[in-house]
Amino acid sequence: MSLLKYESQLREPLVDGDKNYHQTTEDIIGPIETRPTMLWWIGFSLSLLLLAFGVYSVYREVVYGIGQWNLNHTIGWGWDITNFVWWIGIGHAGTLISAILLLFRQGWRTGVNRAAEAMTIFAVICAGQFPIFHMGRVWVGFYVMPYPNSRGPLWPNFNSALLWDVFAVSTYFTVSLLFWYSGLLPDLATVRDRAKTKFRKMFYGLTSFGWTGSTKHWQRHESLSLVLAGLATPLVLSVHTIVSFDFATSVIPGWHTTIFPPYFVAGAIFSGFAMVQSLLIVTRKVLHLEEYITVGHIEAMNKVIVLTGSIVGCAYLTELFVAWYSGNQYEWWAFRQNRVNLFSPYGWAYYGMMFCNVVSPQLFWSKKLRRNVTFTFFMSVLINVGMWFERFVIIVTSIYRDFLPSSWSTYYSPSIWEVGFFLGTFGLFFTCYFLFAKFFPVIALAEIKAILKTSGENYKKKMTPVEKMDSEKFYIEEVEHAH
């Protein structure tokens, strides 16, 4: 009778297929060393086109004024800040996967963390464009920076939630970037070592910072990862908390809500994972990485989605209940008439949000659907549409009809340049992502190799004779040997 089972009955392997170290390297580094495919060129060109349109849209706004947008004196924030919060939310999954799951020792993070972190960084870059260019005078935007200056010195207003945003987002970006890049170092060194052309040698030589793979390097690398994970973990929670303060600390009915911080964080993780799903389902298919980003990974992330989606749903209902329970007529109006009333001008946004974010993720309670890749892709897009609706509902339906009915706004729909700005950030995001997928290892190679020791076919094969041993023999051969 076999004494030990090395294959878990509960957990599926984190890597499929019979992989050894060399094969893994070939699979992951391979695409970097070949010429880009036609598909890549098409995708990259489309992204660049979108980016160019975005740049032109922003150019018009900077040169001719915010009047290029359809905002007005009642709706001061519309698509701009909606998109900012949306992108920031998307940028939450990466750091959650790398930092929090690292601290919780979740092995499955290794397959997806690199791409998710990259996505985080690009999403935060996209998000940052909106608060920058929503300023009427972007050329004096540096006034928000607290530094001893020759204007007094005049300091920013530390009471403003918008200023907290500046700090929160820039800190988050810095830490995420460091985290991502330090994880990349061993893999970049692998690419460098395999490089054949002079340019590639130089490029990857420079970017890998002289990594040699010595034990000392690894030891420092591991320590750094832990330190950064420790730093990044509170940031995952704080960034969207602070973004939510933009609204929660205001006086506007529908904004002034104490539930916002946890609600925003859950929503951010929810949308972040949905975006990771959208990207990775395509990436694994195109780069043939199905054995590294397995259906098990997708299912694990779908579990996070159903959890966070349910939290978000609870938050929506709580918020609605409290609006009624508060007895505040302005608050209740914002919910009852501006949102819940399907026939009010923006009723569609509220029900779109409810359907995409609350109803649809509940389907993931079914294991069959959780493991269905096509369905997951469809759902991930739906969730991100829903999360966009959520931000739009919070921002626009609160302010378009607030305290004084005399100021209630016309129907706000974006101008072509507002839409262009949003599309432009898609262009920026995918341009970055295409470059990343082409020139950087999209899977954390070194970490995959580490889990190959304890997971996958190769490991199972090695362990089969061990499983067959009786305890005596096992003790003599394996344990003694190990000592």
Partner: protein, 588 residues
Amino acid sequence: MLQPLIHPLFKTRQFEDSLLKLIGNPTPFIDYFRNLWVSKLGSVNGFDAFLQDGIIEKNISASSVISEAKDTTNTSNRYQQAEPATALSGASFIGNVADASQKISAKKGGETELVLYEKVSIGNGSHGNNAWLHELSDPISRATWDNYAMISPQMGESLFGINIYDRRQSDAYEVNVDKPVMKVTANGKTIEIPVLIIPGTHPNVIAIALGYGRQSSQKEKTGEYIGRAAENVGINVYPLTTFDGTSISYASAVTVEKTSKQFPIARTQLHNITEGRPIVRETTLKDFKTNPGKLNEEEREELERYGEHFVPDATMYPTYEYPGLKWGMSIDLNTCIGCSACTIACVAENNIAIVGKKDVARMQDMQWLRIDRYFTGNPENPSVVFQPMLCQQCDNAPCENVCPVAATTHSSEGLNQMIYNRCIGTKYCANNCPYKVRRFNWADFRGADAFPDNQRGIISNATADLDDELTRLVINPDVTVRSRGVMEKCTFCIQRIQEGKLHAKIENRPLKDLEVKTACMQACPTQAIMFGNVNDKTTRISELRLREQKERKYYVLEELHVLSNVNYLVKVRNTDHEVGDIKEEHHS
């Protein structure tokens, strides 16, 4: 004496300079003029004294002075006596009233009657090229830059199927800028004109404003000959008047017909009623007399719960005591007639930009002071309340603490100030303003920013006349022109406050009450607006707040604890009818 007062405008030459040039004298007029008078008066000192005094003192005999004075007195006496005589001579009217009224009523043949009226802003059309007046919204319809047919809710429903008492339909109707167009036929002439449904209009009456659709005989040159503000504004309805040989009739029977067309109307207020919110308050004279204290009973009870020190108690920040001046304003809803003179006065005083129809339609208008109009009472036959709404200069201002760069701050006199060159234009303050009185510079209306003047073709052409090289010179030099991308707002005419304080300082005395008047207060024909120092308990405003109108005083949205410095006085109606908010029930 006539001497040059300003530098030559652009590349022009003064008339007198031209004369000098003609006679071949190369001396500039100012020197020529100066030399002439210096030689006449004998010295430079004499000339300077003349300039300073404005007169040349001569030795005149006392008797001639007295006789001259007598003459003046006589003239003015004659004039004063004559005036009341003509003014009161109405009794001399000799006409047959019965006959006249018969003639007027005889005209009413059709089912629907057309009333042609003059709007408070444009009048008979002589101001048709004035962008300020076009952008001033009508007190009732709140529409700008157009004339339109005002029809009753009943006609709106029968003709266009829009029931504005149904929330679903009124929501769709009010947020949509495009309004239905109808065909109006009168005296054999037909026009197509957009329609606004206005509660309180008689079911069988449509009303259209005269004075619109002004154009040059060469239509395409209207902008050039009459003014760019006059281009394509409204429809000329003078052809619909009738002339019977002796007088023009402005009312006639018409037939109206629905069309499937739509036309955008730019309005500054879309929602008609207060939705039960205690924003405008009304009572009847009877109730007021019975129990005047009832009006602010609720407020008193609420404040009692928090005690005397509710202001410092409600904040974690230190509070400021305002030891010196503290500005406040009191606005009387009883006397406000909605004429909007204050709005125009504010526009003129504070160099507020005109944005044109397209931008008003998307609510990017810039006026700092607006007249909010609410229909109250019986929805079938509503009353109207006008509420001038401007920055409330909150002591606990929601706009101030959200600005990331501290571009809007509170002054030691209780004013909420804007520091334009610190503003980066996040619009967060405007979002967080419960009164929505902050205005953003969506474009460069004044050619005032760091970028070259690049707005032609971007902003409305109607703004061009106010921004040309010459008209710009009327801009109030005491007030900064704002550049694109900054927020602006009412600051109680801080330039006037400053001027008043400086005067007082020069004369080494304290500032007197009513020495500083805001532009809106000064322009108000019914004295509905009172402004002054509320720290001084003897000022007019303190008198109103603390004694005269104590019971009628209330603050809009006081429950938000923004501590506004503008109070309103409850409207008291001498009526038996129902007053107050139109409630939700009436809608369904």
